[in-house]
């Protein structure tokens, strides 16, 4: 089997699957259960200054698709509400009992050097492997000038990161908020401040739904609601994009990344690693399925690596980055056309409806003589290769996008005659 051993900032863990800083890592009891289940590391739920914050009831709400599957969760829970010393003592003992696992500690205190200095030194004293600066949480703490309120101001990111690097010897990971226009700017700020790595994404500002009877939103606290942080598989595309943009940006390309955002199975993890992630952090999948899910993630990832002959995570880490580019460099002469496999077509007509109503009228519907069957054919001349028919098709591999040989050379927008700003 492939070697899943992870070496992130010199911290080794038996696999790259870490639990993200969140309720599942709030205390030793949960973390021990996680390590017993096989998680490679954890980021302990964010510590702050005493007196501890007070949480509300209720705290989570979810976004379901029409089938009823949870595709995302949002939360309005704050950082740990347990006294600092209790956490520090448990962290110290946990690292002692689980020396082979990575144990990072998430931190969030007011934007004052003294506060950060104090806490990083207290945490360093526990023997943990590193700290993660929580510049990401978009709810509650941000109203007090912490969390995403810091992550949204590059100068603050840089400043606080620098303080932490000055006042402790631990690796410092900066956790970024996605609630920002250009994530690369935030990553650069962390890098300039001296961050050893970044982790992203934290949760996204969200309201999961409105209670149409009570005319309030979820999660409802008495009759009020507030925006919460959105996570779970629905956010994966956003996280992939942000990780990818940082990984391919020349200024931040060397910055190690611990990727977070909707990782629900081994494949999601492999995708983030292919975009350069050193480790992956998981929360929602564990909250929805329990810690045992990590065993299936580990098994899936190593079997896939075996099938590709990847000996270690480094063998494919970042392998997709070179192909991530700007739109303007995409080949305008590349051409595919949809092809419908008549043997597997079940004649639902979803492709036809999609193409006829909302795309390019490139699929013909022909009823059979007795009108009990119908046939769907691609009109090649009209097909622009948009993939929509393939997306709507309920049958796996029934519609494929077939590459056409145009005989034309690579041509991008910067070279195209229609571009008034073309470069040649």
């Amino acid at each position: 089997m492939a070697d899943l051993t992870s070496n992130f900032l010199g911290i080794r863990s038996p696999n790259p699957f870490w639990l993200a800083s969140a309720p599942p890592t709030d205390k030793a009891y949960n973390v021990y259960r996680a390590f017993e289940a096989g998680w490679g590391g954890v980021v302990w739920k964010t510590l702050g200054e005493d007196p501890v914050p007070v949480n509300v009831c209720s705290r989570y709400s979810c976004h379901k698709n029409t089938r009823g599957d949870v595709i995302g969760i949002n939360n309005i829970e704050l950082i740990t509400d347990r006294p600092l010393q209790v956490n520090l003592d448990e962290i110290r003992q946990t690292k002692k009992d689980w020396p082979d696992r990575a144990l990072f500690v998430s931190l969030m205190v007011p934007c004052e050097e003294e506060s950060w200095k104090t806490i990083v030194q207290q945490v360093e004293d526990t023997g943990c492997d590193g700290v993660e600066l929580n510049f990401g949480c978009p709810h509650g703490m941000s109203e007090r000038g912490m969390g995403s309120a810091v992550g949204q101001v590059p100068e603050y990111i840089e400043m606080v990161t620098r303080w932490c690097k000055q006042h402790c010897h631990l690796p410092v990971v900066v956790k970024l908020t996605p609630n920002i226009t250009n994530i690369v700017v935030a990553a650069e700020a962390a890098q300039i401040g001296g961050a050893d790595a970044i982790s992203l994404i934290n949760t996204i500002n969200s309201i999961t739904g409105i209670d149409l009877d009570q005319m309030t939103g979820y999660p409802t606290v008495n009759d009020k609601f507030t925006s919460g942080g959105y996570c779970g598989e629905a956010v994966k595309p956003i996280a992939l994009s942000m990780v990818g943009q940082i990984a391919r940006s020349p200024d931040t390309a060397e910055l190690p990344i611990s990727a977070i955002g909707g990782i629900s199975c081994w494949r999601d993890a492999a995708e983030f690693i292919a975009l350069g992630a050193g480790t992956v952090q998981v929360c929602t999948a564990a909250m929805l399925n329990g810690f045992k899910i990590v065993q299936d993630m580990i098994d899936g990832l190593s079997r896939w690596m075996d099938s590709k002959d990847y000996q270690s995570l480094d063998s494919f880490r970042g392998a997709a980055i070179p192909n991530l580019t700007d739109w303007k460099y995409l080949d305008l002469n590349y051409k595919t056309i949809a092809s419908i496999d008549q043997n597997s077509c079940i004649q639902c007509g979803r492709c036809y409806a999609a193409c006829e109503d909302t795309a390019h009228q490139a699929i013909a519907m022909t009823p059979s003589q007795n009108a009990t069957e119908r046939r769907f054919d691609v009109i090649n001349e009209a097909c622009v290769g948009c993939n929509l028919c393939q997306i709507t098709c309920p049958v796996e591999n029934c519609i494929s996008m077939v590459r056409q040989q145009t005989g034309k050379p690579y041509l991008n927008w910067t070279q195209h005659p229609n571009n008034p700003m073309r470069e040649n």
Partner: protein
């Protein structure tokens, strides 16, 4: 002497209860939600034309999936006011569900449209009737027969503001839904509830125990009403033509089914120990299975051809076999054995096809001792209801001839349901006939109104 073993109370109270409970129980909210999400919301969905009443199936299923149950019910009832009973009794496996694209590889399993339809109707929350009646037109229409065809016709005409008198020969309205459907397919007086629901539209007066040709003639009806719709059903049961067919223990299956449906205490209903049913349709299946479920020990359906020719669907045949009913094919009744005016056995002759594919007996006889013989070899239209009319509608073969608008040869008389010369005898076809005839009658009356 071969004493007939016919008695009641063969089973425990629990067994009766279990045997005559709903065979296709209602979907739970959860099940309905999962199943509704299997619908692919096809373009020009093949299930819609496969429904004789043209229910917009993807639309009502989408409404279930999006938790708009009243909207789902409305979509069904728009096309089929008896959507509730059709959901229960339709052979969906040869109608909408046969057309479902999920029957294809790789799934090979249709969306259970019938059960979803029942879910939508059963879970409709609105208190109001889903349709409103237009202002009274002053027109009167006689609808004869309150089976599915008559009910659908009456409801559509009532919506248009016409005044309907709904006649029925039986004590209770509902036709075959009330008297002719196997109990476990339509439980808990559902037929009656549905009639009450239809009546909520208003403008429909019911007249029971009214028999056309006896209580009143067709001529008189045509004079008293602006239009007449005949949803008479099939009053007669075909006979075997065997000597001794009138002896005790030989009965029409439909009479027995009707008795069973109207019985309040099944433990008091006698049933034979050994039973043969002659026929190959759903009525044969229904009586055979119900006898089995009443505690009969040996129930045999005897059919003169191979089972692939049976009009009972393969699904129904499988249901019969699951009930422990034996289906004997390629046999025809040749004679009855009787003692003291009772049937004691039946001789069945093996059959085969000759070179011209005509059915013929081989002469080989099997004797089966029986307590009861049920005849389920089809029904026929009893034209004697027109005996005292000067003008009666033309027949096509043995049934009432109708044009594409369900009009008979008489200018102000329409007809639909089993008594006409169209379509298989299914509830859902009858509903469509009634609906279409109502449109035609309304058009006719509109012309009448406009022409002063």
């Amino acid at each position: 002497m071969n004493r007939p073993d016919i008695h009641s109370g063969r089973l425990s109270a629990e067994e009766y209860c279990r045997n005559f409970a709903d065979i296709k129980p209602a979907l739970s909210n959860y099940e309905a939600h999962i199943e509704a999400n299997r619908c692919l919301y096809c373009e020009a969905a093949p299930c819609i034309p496969a429904c004789p009443t043209g229910i917009n199936i993807p639309s009502f299923i989408n409404r279930i999936a999006t938790n708009n149950i009243d909207g789902a019910a409305q979509a069904i009832l728009d096309a089929n006011i008896l959507g509730g009973s059709c959901a229960r009794v339709c052979p969906t496996e040869i109608l909408c569900e046969q057309a479902c694209v999920r029957n294809h590889e790789p799934e090979c399993k249709a969306v259970t449209i019938g059960r979803l339809q029942r879910y939508a109707i059963d879970n409709r929350q609105a208190d109001d009737h889903p349709f409103t009646r237009l202002p009274d037109t002053g027109k009167t229409i006689a609808v004869v027969g309150s089976g599915p065809a008559g009910l659908a016709c009456a409801h559509h005409l009532a919506r248009e503001g016409h005044n309907i008198t709904l006649f029925d020969a039986w004590e209770k309205p509902g036709g075959l839904n009330e008297y002719g459907i196997a109990s476990y397919k339509l439980v808990d007086s559902y037929a009656r509830q549905e009639v009450d629901f239809v009546m909520e539209i208003g403008g429909i007066k019911q007249e029971s125990s009214f028999r056309l040709g006896q209580s009143i003639s067709l001529d008189q009806l045509r004079k008293q009403f602006s239009a007449v719709f005949l949803g008479l059903g099939l009053g007669g049961c075909n006979t075997l033509g065997l000597e001794g067919e009138q002896v005790a223990g030989v009965e029409d299956a439909l009479s027995a089914i009707s008795r069973l449906r109207q019985c309040n205490d099944l433990s008091q209903l006698p049933v034979g120990k050994r039973i043969v049913v002659i026929g190959g349709g759903n009525t044969a299946i229904d009586i055979a299975c119900q006898c089995k479920r009443l505690g009969a020990e040996e129930v045999t359906i005897a059919y003169r051809r191979g089972s692939q020719w049976m009009s009972a669907t393969p699904h129904e045949q499988a249901f019969a076999r699951d009930n422990g009913v034996r289906i004997l094919s390629w046999v025809q009744p040749s004679s009855l054995l009787t003692e003291d005016g009772r049937v004691t056995g039946i001789n069945l002759e093996k059959t085969t096809l000759d070179v011209n594919d005509n059915l013929q007996g081989t002469g080989e006889i099997t004797t089966i001792p029986i307590d009861t013989l049920y005849k389920a070899i089809g029904q026929n239209f009893l034209a004697d209801c027109f005996a005292n009319a000067n003008e009666s509608p033309e027949l096509n073969g043995s049934r009432i001839a109708t044009d594409k608008n369900f009009r008979t040869s008489l200018s102000n008389v329409w007809a639909g349901g089993d008594c006409i010369d169209k379509d298989p005898d299914l509830t859902v076809h009858a509903v469509e006939h009634g609906k279409q005839a109502a449109h035609a009658i309304h058009q006719y009356l509109q012309g009448d109104i406009e022409n002063g």
